[in-house]
Amino acid sequence: MDFDVIVVGGGHAGTEAALAASRRGASTLLLTQNIETVGQMSCNPAIGGIGKSHLVKEIDALGGAMALAADAAGIHFRVLNARKGPAVRATRAQADRALYKGAIRAFVEQAPNLRLFQQPVDDLLIEKGGVKGVVTSSGLTFHAKTVILTVGTFLGGIMHVGMQQQPGGRAGDSPSNRLAEKLRALPFRVDRLKTGTPPRIDGKTVDFSALQRQPGDTPRPVMSMMGTPADHPTQVACHIAKTSELTHDIIRAGLSRSPLYSGVIEGVGPRYCPSIEDKVVRFADRPSHQIFIEPEGLGTSELYPNGISTSLPYDVQLDLVRSIDGFGEAHITRPGYAIEYDFFDPRDLKRSLETSFVDGLYFAGQINGTTGYEEAAAQGLIAGINAAASALDLESYTPDRSEAYIGVLIDDLITLGTREPYRMFTSRAEYRLVLRQDNADRRLTEKGRALGLISEQRWTQFQRKIALIDARTEAMHAHWIQSGDPSVESLLGQALTHEYSLADLVRRPGISLRDLAEAAELMWPETEVNEQVEIDLKYEGYIVRQREEIARMQQYVNQLIPVDIDYDVIGGLSNEVRQKLNDARPETIGQASRIAGVTPAAVSLLLVHIKKLGGVRHRQVTAHA
């Protein structure tokens, strides 16, 4: 059988990749070890969070599934950073695992041009430097123009519980070792990473009265631009527990049997998601650490204690859990573990997520050194878009850093690589005030439309919203409040010295568009529209400044560096800069300039050298660059 695109792996990267490719009209095959685990949340049962909901909403604007599935499965929604300003606000949903998986599975099954097949992949067919298909464990061969690998932590996966290890890609699933061996034989730079997961606990054995209750937000936020709270299932509360000195003593006593602290684990773990043993060792003076007790779903009593990821032996895990207030009688349903796995240096990828060494082969998700469902899904989406583009000769697309967090993610990965599992944070985005979760649709829907990724319904709804935003913005400038207007002056708490437009007044501190409209007796009920207009006006100065900065960067962004450039012959580059450029092999001058240690003078030398070579000038970075 011949396909345009084969996606190997049915996780968050794989499903978004397959869905995006199929939406673009590519005949697509999704190969998974186990159809029952398609859309599985292997770690914590939550979607979104700081930096991450930005990704989710961008995926949504480009027609992806993650936000819709989160709305269908979310049992607890919160807005984080609500007081810290719209640019850093984020949405987080606790998801019912079964509902989430079900929603994703339904998307996959309903997608046109998409076939699902259950069989582990053992090998890639590669001819003349290009991928031609895959071979499964039972020897079946599938041919395709492009292949996307989204194999997560399954490559050479080893799970650790105490001093015991066993091969595995996730609890209950075997690793993809044959494929890992095959890939290691290719010229990719490969390294090991580590991540961990906490023990799961039976909620029936927990005394919730000893915990702090954390209800979801009212009004309840939604994840998808198409979603409404009516899509959400029954809502439940989360809880917060705390470790004690007793807990920490138990952990310290168990450290000699920790694979992390006895040198068994060689992979590098994420600094922002340390195991509980790491926290206790590194922050020894903290008397207590928070644990967020998250429900695994509506149909189960299992709990996910977020914050005590551990690879200590089972007996230590049990003791430490039971030392926590409210958990004295707790029963562990599944022990926590650490997992080590292979990842490929993402600096060996192009912006399209195609590998530099094998044409038509794409990598997305944890295989590229990232962590998190949202980061994986974002890469899957882009790999799917671009694999379909390559197979069908369509427009390719990778957002720029100034367009989307997805662009920041991919640019960081392919330019800087990573030494720990890469997670998105808002502080990674230099254009944070422009790249907000609330305007993801305004940034990307048109692009999604052009790429054939979004439905008519979404497009219509989007156009209606944009028209309203434009009209309301105009109205804000056109509507004048006279000096002496009693209701507006009482809202402002001061008299107006002359007439002001609503646009002027809404820029004042603490004044919301909603209150202002009410005081001016305007019937403007559309919350989302008001929000956009208000942010545009309040942030205007900053948005203008960031756009200027983007324009300054733009002259570099599109300046391509020849693929075969020899940094060793460029006079004047220091050895350090040369080394960095050789490691990163940046595709554009913009990327080169973001590598730490590459100075403006080095960038000048590069520009001059490229011009000398025959002037690769301001070409647009396009599909087959």
């Binding site: 998601c273 944070r432 030398l605």
Partner: protein
């Protein structure tokens, strides 16, 4: 590259009094800068006698202005040439005025780079352009370190650290809201912001007092103990500021003196006699002397020629043993000074010079003097002035320092805007944005600080991890 969005400006002539100084401006703002500076748009390609004015109309200087519109210019962009009187202070005032009108200080070699990228220089010249950027960037890196000597550099270091710490705290609160770091409610943020703005004010004040910008070219005096370095310094500065004592090793502190040699401001640095020593205080002095040497534009290598050829060679050997590594990387002008001419009947020291040159080939000039009688000093001044004006960096330390001041002003404006955002709007993300920008400007002086560095600091400072 045809339309670079920003307009650049720099002093295009070497520093020094007398003659004419030229400020070159390139970019789309060139015409509007000309209008604001002289009151009207000058006739293209026609030298016009004009008065350059401050915003309030006060005259800065009189001189010629030349305007090259469109792409018919050296750089391929609109170019303005402002010819003023060449004094350091006037040129600096003119440059400040141009920068205040929207230009930014040019990076080293940037005019030539633009000319090349806009096809104004042909391929054959390309190699030369690359060489220029290379040499200039090295030189400007050096002058960046150099111009940030002493207290100024230490202040800036403190400031950067305060800024980073504050950003770490605020960014951590933004990216990890569940770690219960509530900076909006934290009164200490206001205090910390105030500390940062007063540090910025303090640094800026020193700069405008001239300690930074007008200290000029730095001149270090090194040599073995008792070679007469302090006497020479006293001669140069005509004041008895160093402790002169016949017992070797009396100068343990770095002494500085500002002087003007033929119109060029020079910061004179006398260093402790360099020799191996077990005296802890003196060892510290030697370390500091080495640091001064690394930063200097010009170094005088002083020997006592009355020791005779063998004596001088052996002193040179000792000196190289202790400062050889600093000399290897030294990029400035090295002047060999044979002192105590009055104690010898003929210039016996010169016999040693050939040998010294073979040991230390970087020496650019050599002069024989007597610090005690003043003989030969005239010639030494000439050599110093020439080295300062002509042989130092292509870009010149003034431009490097002017860039630093612009960066400081921008950083200061950003921090103040952030303060206002916090006070008026309680807008944490806008404060964060202003501080990010402030750090970007400071980073132009002190070097990169990436998002990843920031995250690293967050992870090591806070116990993060939900």
């Amino acid at each position: 590259m045809q339309s670079s969005p920003d307009t650049i400006a720099a002093i295009a002539t070497p520093p020094g009094k007398g003659g004419i100084g030229v400020i070159r401006v390139s970019g789309t703002l060139a015409p509007s800068i000309a209008e604001a500076l002289v009151g009207h748009l000058p006739e293209p390609r026609l030298a016009t006698l004009v008065t350059f004015r401050e915003e309030d109309g006060a005259a800065i200087d009189q001189g010629l202005i030349l305007f090259f519109p469109g792409t018919a210019s050296f750089t391929g962009e609109p170019v303005l040439e402002v010819h003023g009187h060449g004094g350091v202070v006037v040129m600096d005032l003119l440059l400040q005025r141009v920068l205040s009108l929207g230009a930014r200080p040019a990076r080293a070699g940037e005019f030539t780079e633009r000319a090349f990228l806009n096809d104004k220089i042909d391929l054959a010249q390309a190699e030369a352009v690359a060489d220029l950027i290379d040499s200039v960037s090295e030189a400007s890196a050096r002058s960046a370190v150099r111009s940030l000597s002493g207290d100024f550099s230490a202040c800036l270091g403190d400031l950067t650290e305060q800024l980073i710490e504050l950003r770490v705290y605020i960014e951590a609160a933004i990216d990890f809201p569940e770690e219960e770091i509530d900076f909006l409610a934290d009164e200490s943020i206001v205090t910390r912001l105030n500390t940062i703005t007063s540090s910025l004010d303090n640094i800026r004040q020193r700069a405008s007092q001239g300690a930074v910008l007008r200290e000029g070219v730095s001149l270090a005096i090194v040599g073995p103990p008792n070679a007469g370095k302090s006497s020479l310094m006293n001669r140069l500065s005509r004041q008895d500021i160093a402790i002169v004592n016949e017992q070797a090793g009396t100068t343990r502190d770095i002494l500085r003196e500002q002087l003007v040699v033929q119109g060029i401001p020079i910061e004179l640095v006398d260093t402790a006699g360099i020799r191996s020593t077990s005296d802890a205080v003196e060892r510290e002095g030697v370390q500091r002397a080495l640091a001064e040497l690394a930063r200097a534009d010009i170094a005088l290598l002083v020997f006592d020629q009355s020791l005779g050829q063998h004596g001088v060679i052996s002193a040179m050997g000792d000196l190289l043993a202790s400062i050889g590594s600093a000399l290897e990387t030294f990029q400035g002008v090295l002047i060999l000074v044979m002192n105590k001419k009055d104690l010898v009947r003929v210039d016996t020291g010169w016999e040693a010079v050939q040998d010294i040159l073979s040991i230390c080939p970087q020496i650019n000039e050599r002069v024989s003097i007597s610090a005690a009688t003043g003989e030969g000093l005239e010639r030494l001044f000439d050599v110093i002035a020439q080295s300062a004006g002509l042989t130092t960096t292509v870009e010149g330390v003034f431009m490097a320092r002017r860039r630093h001041l612009v960066a400081l002003d921008e950083a200061s404006a950003r921090v103040r805007a952030g303060q206002a955002q916090l006070a008026v709007n309680a807008a944490g993300e806008l404060l964060a944005e202003e501080l990010r920008e402030a750090q970007r400007y400071i980073g132009e002086i002190t070097g990169d600080f990436t998002n990843d560095d920031l995250l690293g600091r967050i992870f090591s400072s806070f116990c993060i991890g939900k």
